[in-house]
Symmetry: C2
Subunit: 155 residues, 2 copies
Amino acid sequence: MQRVANCILRVNNQVLMLKKPRRGWYVVPGGKMEAGENIKDSVIREFKEETGLDIVDPELKGSFTFIMKEDNETVQEWMMFTFQTTSFQGELLEFSEEGELEWVDVNEVLDKPMAEGDRHIFKHILNSEDQIYGTFVYTTDFKLIDQDMDPSRPK
Amino acid sequence: MQRVANCILRVNNQVLMLKKPRRGWYVVPGGKMEAGENIKDSVIREFKEETGLDIVDPELKGSFTFIMKEDNETVQEWMMFTFQTTSFQGELLEFSEEGELEWVDVNEVLDKPMAEGDRHIFKHILNSEDQIYGTFVYTTDFKLIDQDMDPSRPK
């Protein structure tokens, strides 16, 4: 099963995002866990690879299961672990192979084009101290057809 | 990849544990995640199946990667998500198919026979408010040969 770890780096009311070339959708930096890694080692390594930055003390804020369905059959399942931190070291890459890096004002994050489930996740994590858990069901062309978040909204 | 979710239920300075029949090792109730489940739904379902109890507001405290090695080759890898709560509803099963249920005084938990990695995990979670992350490497007969915890000890 594929597992992804990513991190919301939030500094001076801005979030470091990555605009992916394929759909122009915004994500936060991160990527696939490798065999034998734990989730924290993974998010630190991936964030560094994509941005050049060493995140400091990332804390897990959300744990999610994603399912992709076609004709009511599950064709893919993966997990995502979303961390958050306000602290980093190092210099931002001028060019990332994964897409365009961009500091986005916190109050503009939700206006960016992105996967619909990610919008729910950012809405929650950017407005709450809770840990959250969730399940998201997508079609193969990434339309969100079902979601279940716990807690269901930011307190 | 196998994924396990379990929960430390801590009430009146006691922890509900399960003594597994095979080795006589103590664990906290939990079990294998099912396809499509998120980790919180999974721990609630598994805890109920093994104990009869509905845990209330379990919070994720630890996320771990386990590797089993034979002749320096990885033969198995799995993840474990350990929650904690102090609240439950329902009546404890008199008999669990998974082993003997036992309320153990918090200060006696570490004296019980158990997997060596689990001892490190309980030592940390029972003495700290931190979330922890870790990697544990075992032989096929469950001798701990390497471990990496982050933070490395309870604050």
